[in-house]
Structure formats: structure tokens, C-alpha cells
Subunit: 379 residues, 2 copies
């Protein structure tokens, strides 16, 4: 993996998943040489031809060795050794996001505790170590409650809605630090995708409305169908909290809006995120382009939408190469932009997404849903 | 270069230039495994991580060996051994475009002779072998005349405007078959980018206005600022001629409009083409996506524009890594989408392009020009 004199910069990304894969589209445009630390030669970014080393992102030596000679190191996922990132920084190579900011995405208990102490609006929560702790929390906030594993959870893993002590006790049998969270009545879930340079310049994409099922994001609508005042408040909150925690690169701030109209911060992703996928076709500059620009401390690109309504629907695996076989049929849906990640099609796994632009949310959503449904096996 | 079970298809492209590089962006989206026959490990597509073999596209054995096991073979440029393409077809592997159609792009004398016999509007021309031939042609059509090398010309090479017999004789000293062409008074040059499946389905992008300098395309405006009737005539002409010659994949049909309003076919590119670059950001489906879809005989994507006016300006090399050094400054131009190909920055060589979307041609053109000018070294 020798440096390449015909590239504008050499950027390392830890993790070779679909986010690294889609970052490669942007790297091609900007003549950036992207390199990934991948878990397997079958990782989506490796299949897209990104130069790679195979290594465990939790092994400090593998991470430090990967970083040698790079201009900057960034992340495809958060499950990375913080010790290693610190050593990379000591070697004079910037890490974006800084490990201190990354911790807000890695450790929910830490993030909630800090956000609460800084006065940001978040759901009521408490660390729970046993049934007694759950009982105390539920007596104050009522059943059901949400139990969340503080670290290592994603796409619904490590998140359980429990309705009684028995269910809670069963969940707590899994190793790890757990926190209890009040179950809110939500009117909508939002995400604000922020691109921020370490030097402070930051831009946001229009607020996105996310539709979750079983903890997995299924659909996005951009812009969110909410009051402009609420959208402005969500945007301000996201910019403020991202600057406060000192994150850079792309940061997605996921938020709840309760039925009473309260805005609360749910969690962070300090990297390109599913809630920004619709920016590939939907915005002048995609989140992947802006991620590279931000980590290289280059001027950020316009986040304006190119259509009144943009929708994105995730494609979940059905097995048996369903999506690959159905791809030509799905391409028959006029206006659908299909992205497949080249992943094994295990049941329920995110293996791609479909974006559509339109004059109305209903029209865009209909187009994206039709193509996604064909990729999922529908005739 | 083993086949990859996680890809939807395995497509070979002969040539590893910027067209193959930009096709890789589309291949990533569609989980297509693109492979190229490249001239050098420094070719733009190879630098973008596309799996490759190094080989001479004029060496039949290299081409045939490259094609082994591929689902379909297509082209990044036309300077390919036709004999080899025939052998690939005999081995049961489709070649898109078919070599018989490719000849229209490889051999100007052949193309003009055939188009004339089929009654398509083209400039007056004649094969010229010596000064006597030039004199006869000029006596009928007047000076200056255009001398074009029948094969191997591109980006202004092999095209000379000559004003007298001495100049003509000097030009004809270069080896090759030459043809003389009347020098037309042009009001505008157009291009129609067609995507066509071998099975016949075809779509066109909105007509593009091209601005040429010294035979090199400098700027594009999409849609062209022409009368809707002329645009419809150009589109119909392009669809008709592409079907007539039996080309598939992306085919760019370059046309002249004379000051008298006559539409004439200039030449063909039977592959993704510079005149389609603005479709990456400007259209729902880029020419690169539609090229892959067409060569795989998959349904073609929408060619609708996403903005009222799209402009593209090419970046020509200045040497000394000017564009690479200037890239961060160029990204400061709001709304500019920059593409660099990772090529050596030799003087006058196409090394990238900038696209901008806007409400008016002037606004888009201004944005794209400002960024391109910075990439060329302007402060």
C-alpha cells in the first residue's frame, strides 16, 4: 500500500463496511487515496477495490500499524480501540473524530451522563446493575422501560423494551453495562447530519425523519415533515452539541420528538451514517464527500437539496442472493436509485438502500418502497 | 481476478482511463464487479481500485485473455483490436458495442461514407491522398478546409484546419488515411447522449451544448440553449442513427448546427463520453450507471435533469500538480462538484471536470468556471 503521488491525499478508514464503500465513490471524485483496515477480504469496501489491510480494529497494534504514513485516520464504525487511536495521535497523525468525541458514540452511559450534566434535553435514564435497580427506575418512570447496553449495540442489538421485572432480569443476564431509559411516547424520530471541520466550520443537511422498526432504520424522509420552527431547533441543537463534544467529520445526531413536542437527543454516530444516505442523490454534496472534506480540513460542500422531497428505504437481506437476483427488476422502477453493498444476504441484515427524488414525500417514498420491495423478493 | 459471488455481474472494460474510473462509481452502487484491461498501473481506473490486467488493447491475445470468464466486455476507448473483439464474441461473450457498430467510431471515413449512403445529414467530405485531391475538394468547397485523420484521432489530434495547399501538404505528410471536410459556419455544437440496450430499448439525455477549443471540449451546457424543435430533431436523429448502426451501451452523437440552422452529424463515441459527464450530478441516472445497465441488458434509468440548468467545465492540466494543490481552494466555490481523475498533470491534458447545477445557465456556468479556473492555478 505505497503512497500514490497522483492522489490529492491519503486517508485511512478503520472498518471496511458499506460506509467505507460509499466513501470510495467520493474518494474517486476527489482523487483521494482511501485505505481501509478491514475485518475480511469480503468486506464491502474491499470488494469495491479500496486498498486494505486485514486486521482487528480492537487490536491496538493492528490499528497503529495500519495508520503508518497516512495523512489522517477516520472511522467506518465505532468499535475501535481508543488506546490505539491515542497512540496514532501521539505519532502525529490526526484522528477524526478525536477519541474524546468518539466516546460519546461508543459509550451510551458516558454520553447520557455528560449530556445531562451539560443540560441537554435527553430521556430520563439510570445505570442499572440488577433487578433492584430496574425496579427503582420503573417505580419512578413506569413500565415499560427501555434497557440499553452501554457499549457495542447497533441496529437494535443491545436494546430491549421490557414490560416487567422478569423480562428485565432476563435481559440483564447478558454481560455488559446496562442503562434503563424511560419509554417515551414519540410523535417522530429525527436525525440531523452535521459535517464539521476540526477547525470549527460546520454545515448541516436538512433535518431527516427516520422510521425505525425493531431498532433498525427502515426509511428516511428528507426534509422531515415537521414545523419549520422545530426543524430549526433540531438543527441548532445538533450544531451546538457537536461543537460542544468536539466531534469532526460527519456526525449524525439522532433525536426524539415526543407527542408533547419535546425534542430530545437520543444518540450520536461520529461517522457517515444511514440517516445521511439520501444525500448521495438528494443533496449537492453527499455526506461521504463532506466526510472526506471535513477530515482533510477542506472547505465543506453545499448541503442544499436538489429536489423538494427525498426518500430512502433500506433493503434488508432475505438470503439466497434475493436482492442480487432481483436487481434488474428493481431497476425497472422509474426514478429509483439503487445501492447494493455486496454483502452476504443474511436475513434482516442491511444490504443496500434505494433513494428517490420527487415533488412530494408520498411520490418519492412510493418509488423507493417499490424498488426496495422488489429487491426484497416481491414480484 | 477470481469471480466474486457477492457481485451482481462481472463486466470487463477495455481501457483504464477516466471513463472506466467514473464507471467504477456506478459499479459500486450496483454491486457490479468491474474489471479493466489497463495500459499502466497508473491508469485512472486502476488508481481507483478497479481490478485490472495490464495489456495492450491492440494485442488480440491480451484482449482475448482479459475477456475470459467475463459476462460482457465493453470499452473505455475505441483504440481496440477489432479482431480480438470478434474472437471474444466467438467465445460466446457479448461485446457492447458490437465491433460492427464500433467501426463507426473508429473509422471516420467509413462512418461518413456509410452515413452519406444512408442519407443522414453530414458535412461534405472526401478522402484525400495527396495535394491534388485537396485541390479538387477546395475548388468545390472553398478554403479553409478541415483535414481529419480517419482513425486514431481524439481531442483535436488528427484534426487540422488548413487554409492553403502548402498547409494541407504539410499535414498530409503524417501517415494515415485523411479526409477533407468542408469548413462549416457553425451556430452551435451539440451532443446527444443515448443509452441503448442491445435488445433495442433506448433513452436519451437532454441535448447538450458543447463548447470546443482547438478540438478539445471545454464546456457543456445541459440542456442546450436551443429551440425545442431543434432539440427534438437532434434527439430523433441521434436515436435513429444509433439504432441504424446497431450500437449499444452509451453512444454520444456529436452534431453541428450551421448558421443556416442545418443539423449535421459530426461523429460518434460508442462509450461513455465527455459530453455526458454532467449527468453524474445533473440527471437522475448518470451515463455511467446507464452504460452498465445497457451493457448488462438491464432496464435503463431515468435521464431527467434534477435542476433547470447544468454546466460542466473541463479541467486541463497545467503541470506541477497544480490541480491537486489547488483542490481545497476550488472546493471553496459553493455548489461546485469537482472530479479529478488522478492523472499526471501534463499541459493541456484533460485531468478532471467541474459540474454545477443552477436555476440558470449563467449561474451554473459561472460556478463551474470559477472552480475550474482555480484548479487551473487561478487565485
Amino acid at each position: 500500500m505505497a503512497p500514490n503521488s497522483l492522489s490529492s491525499a491519503r486517508v485511512g478508514m478503520i472498518g471496511g463496511g458499506q460506509l467505507a464503500r460509499m466513501t470510495q465513490r467520493a474518494a474517486i471524485d476527489l482523487a483521494v487515496r482511501l485505505e481501509v483496515l478491514a475485518a475480511s477480504p469480503q468486506d464491502p469496501a474491499v470488494l469495491a477495490g479500496v486498498p486494505h489491510q486485514i486486521g482487528d480494529p480492537l487490536d491496538p497494534d493492528a490499528v497503529v500499524s495500519f495508520a503508518r504514513g497516512l495523512e489522517v485516520v477516520t472511522l467506518d464504525h465505532e468499535l475501535v480501540s481508543s488506546e490505539a487511536l491515542g497512540r496514532i495521535q501521539e505519532n502525529g497523525i490526526p484522528v477524526v473524530p478525536d477519541p474524546a468525541a468518539l466516546r460519546y458514540a461508543q459509550d451510551k452511559l458516558f454520553a447520557r451522563t455528560r449530556l445531562a450534566s451539560m443540560g441537554y434535553p435527553i430521556p430520563a435514564f439510570s445505570r442499572v446493575d440488577d433487578a433492584g435497580g430496574v425496579e427503582r427506575f420503573a417505580s419512578e418512570h413506569g413500565w415499560p422501560i427501555v434497557l440499553k447496553m452501554s457499549t457495542m449495540g447497533y441496529d437494535g442489538r443491545g436494546v430491549e423494551v421490557v414490560h416487567n421485572l422478569d423480562q428485565a432480569a432476563h435481559t440483564l443476564e447478558s454481560a455488559g453495562v446496562w442503562l434503563a431509559e424511560e419509554m417515551l411516547d414519540l410523535s417522530v424520530e429525527l436525525a440531523v447530519v452535521v459535517a464539521r471541520r476540526q477547525s470549527g466550520e460546520a454545515v448541516t443537511y436538512p433535518v431527516v425523519e427516520t422510521v425505525q422498526e425493531d431498532g433498525i432504520c427502515r426509511e428516511l424522509i428528507m426534509p422531515a415533515r415537521i414545523d419549520p420552527g422545530l426543524a430549526a431547533a433540531a438543527t441548532d441543537l445538533a450544531l451546538d452539541v457537536v461543537a460542544e463534544i468536539g466531534a469532526a467529520g460527519i456526525v449524525a445526531v439522532e433525536m426524539f420528538v415526543t407527542t408533547e413536542g419535546d425534542l430530545m437527543i437520543n444518540e450520536f454516530a461520529t461517522r457517515p451514517h444511514n440517516s445521511g444516505h439520501a444525500t448521495i442523490e438528494g443533496a449537492v454534496t453527499s455526506q461521504f464527500h463532506n466526510h472526506l472534506r471535513a477530515v482533510l480540513d477542506w472547505p465543506l460542500g453545499s448541503t442544499r437539496l436538489v429536489a423538494p422531497a427525498v426518500a430512502m428505504v433500506n433493503v434488508l437481506g432475505m438470503g439466497a442472493r434475493t436482492a442480487m437476483r432481483q436487481l434488474p427488476s428493481a431497476l425497472g422502477v422509474d426514478g429509483a436509485s439503487v445501492h447494493l453493498y455486496g454483502k452476504d444476504e443474511r436475513l434482516g441484515r442491511k444490504i443496500g438502500h434505494v433513494t428517490a427524488l420527487g415533488e412530494s414525500t408520498d411520490a418519492s417514498l412510493d418509488t423507493a418502497r417499490r424498488a426496495a420491495s422488489i429487491l426484497g423478493g416481491a414480484k
